[in-house]
C-alpha cells in the first residue's frame, strides 16, 4: 500500500551569516500509513516545522526526497497540494474577510465552482460549529474560533492528508479539547493526520504512532505505548514512564526545578 507520507534522507540547509551553512534537517526518514494520526514531536528548533514546510511544498528540499500519497514533493508540488490540507503554527487567516469568504476563496483556489464552493463552505462551517459566526470578519473571532476555521479551510478540497503544525499552541485548555475533538472527527472521516506538537499529552491522546526529532534527526519512533514500554524496560523498576519521560530521555534533556517551575535543561 502507498504510504500517506514518506521521506528518505530529507535534508534542509539554510545559508547562515558570513556564508556559513545551517543544517535545520539532517536526513529524516519517515513513513506514515494511510488513516494514521502521526505525531511529530521535538523541542523548539529541532526541525519539526521545517520538515512540515518541506512536505507541504512551502520550502524547497535541499537533499533527499519525499512523497505524499505517492506524489513526489519536489517534482510535482501542485500534485501534492491537491492531496494535502495545511494548518500551520500561525493561524493563517485574512482578518478583512468573513469566515465564509475565506472558505469559499480557498475552495475556489482548489478548483471548485462558485456554487460547489458555497455548499462546501456551509458544510465545513457546520462541521466546525461556526455557522453563526460565518458572516463576521475573522478579526472578531476568538483564538479557538480562528483555529477551527483554519482547520476547516484546510479541508475544503477533501484532502487525503492533513498537516497540522502545533495546532493548539496558544489555546486555552477548553479550546484545546475542542481542537482535539475536531482532529479525531477529521481522522474518523479517513483523513491521515500529520501532527506536530510540543504538548506530549496531546500526542498521547491523539497519535497512534509518533516520531521524535531532535537536532534535525529522528531519534525515536513507535507507538506511544511501545516507546513507554521501551523506557520502562531500559530503566527497570515499577514506575510507569509517561511520554514526557520518553521525550526527555531521547532528547537528552532533564528536568530542573527553578523559580517555582519545572523546566527542561540539557
Amino acid at each position: 500500500m502507498t504510504s500517506a507520507v514518506s521521506a528518505q534522507g530529507l535534508i534542509k540547509t539554510f545559508q547562515g551569516k558570513k556564508g556559513s551553512t545551517v543544517e535545520a534537517v539532517r536526513g529524516v526518514d519517515l513513513s506514515v500509513e494511510p488513516g494514521e494520526v502521526f505525531g511529530f514531536l521535538g523541542p523548539n528548533g529541532a526541525g519539526k516545522s521545517t520538515t512540515v514546510r518541506m512536505l507541504t511544498t512551502l520550502t524547497t528540499i535541499s537533499g533527499g526526497s519525499a512523497q505524499v500519497v505517492g506524489v513526489d514533493v519536489a517534482s510535482d508540488p501542485d500534485g501534492v497540494r491537491r492531496k494535502i490540507g495545511v494548518a500551520l503554527q500561525d493561524v493563517g487567516l485574512d482578518p478583512r474577510q468573513t469566515g465564509r469568504e475565506i472558505l469559499v476563496l480557498q475552495a475556489r483556489l482548489f478548483g471548485l465552482t462558485a456554487s460547489e464552493a458555497s455548499a462546501r463552505a456551509e458544510e465545513l462551517l457546520e462541521l466546525v460549529e461556526l455557522t453563526d459566526a460565518a458572516d463576521r470578519r475573522t478579526k472578531t473571532y476568538s483564538g479557538g474560533m480562528k483555529r477551527r476555521l483554519d482547520l476547516a479551510s484546510a479541508l475544503v478540497h477533501r484532502p487525503d492528508v492533513l498537516f497540522l503544525d502545533e495546532p493548539t499552541t496558544g489555546l486555552d485548555p477548553a479550546s484545546r479539547l475542542v481542537v482535539w475533538e475536531e482532529v479525531r472527527r477529521i481522522n474518523a472521516l479517513g483523513v491521515t493526520v500529520f501532527l506536530t506538537t510540543q504538548y506530549l499529552e496531546e500526542a498521547d491522546q491523539l497519535c497512534s504512532r509518533l516520531a521524535i526529532i531532535d537536532g534535525g534527526r529522528i531519534v525515536r519512533e513507535g507507538t506511544p505505548e511501545a516507546l513507554k514500554a521501551d523506557l520502562k524496560a531500559k530503566r527497570g523498576g515499577d514506575t510507569e514512564p509517561t511520554l514526557d519521560d520518553v521525550f526527555l530521555d531521547v532528547t537528552g534533556r532533564s528536568r530542573e526545578r527553578g523559580a517555582g517551575e519545572v523546566r527542561e535543561v540539557q
Partner: protein, 251 residues
Amino acid sequence: MNALKVLGGRGLREALRTPDALLPTLLIPLFFLVVNVGQAARIFPTDTTPFLKGQSYAAFQLPATILLAASFGTAALYLVEEIENGYFDKIRATPVSRTSIALGRLISEPIKIAAMTVVIILVALPFGVSVQSGIVGVLLLVLLAAGWATGYAAFLQFVALKTRSAAATNSAGLVFFPLLFLTPNFVPRDLLTDPMEVAATLNPVTYVMEAMRSLILEPLNWAAIAPGFIVVAAFVGVMLVINVHVMRTYD
C-alpha cells in the same frame, strides 16, 4: 485565470473594506495640490505664463497629485501582514499558479487608482482645471495613472516578498518622493537649472508626468503622450516579471 479572478476579487473587497487606508491616499495628494498651488500660483499667473496654456497653475500641478495618489501601493503592506500571520502560506499551499498569486493582489490597485483619478479630476474642475484633450484624454489619463499604480504596487510587492518586513516595505514606498522632486514638478523641464534638467531627463517619472500634463493642458499630442505610456508599459512589464520570478522562487 479563475484563480486570478478570485484573488483579484479578494483584493478589491479588501480595498473597499479599508476606507481608513484609502482616504489618506486621496487626501494627502490633494493636500499637496492645495499647498503647492497656494504657494506658487501668484508666481505663475495664467495670463502671463505661457506654459500654462491659458489654464490655472492647479492644472499644471494636477499630474503630480495623480502620480502621488498612484504611488501608495497599500496592497504590499497587506501582503506583509499576510506573510507574518501565515495566510500567505495558506495561499501558497494551494495548487494555483505562482503567477496568479503574484498578480492577484495587484489587480485591485489599477481599479482603485482609476476611481481615485476620476475623483481627483472632479475635485480639480472647480479650480479652473479642464482636460483639454477631452474624454479620450481623461481615459488616457486614468489609464496612465492606473498603469503607474500597478507598476509601483508591484515594486512594493517585490520589496515585501524579498524583505518580509512592513518597515522595509513602508520605507521603500518613500522612494517615490525623491523621484517626484527630480521631475519638472513646478516648472517645465526647459526652465529648470542645468543639473536639475539632466536629473529630470534621466528620471522616468518625468515622462509620465509630462504625458499627463500634455493631456490636461493641450489637445491630444501623441509626441508628448507616447513616452509616458512607453515608460509605464516598461515599468509594469519589468516589475511583473520580477514579481512572478520572486514568487516562483519564494522559499
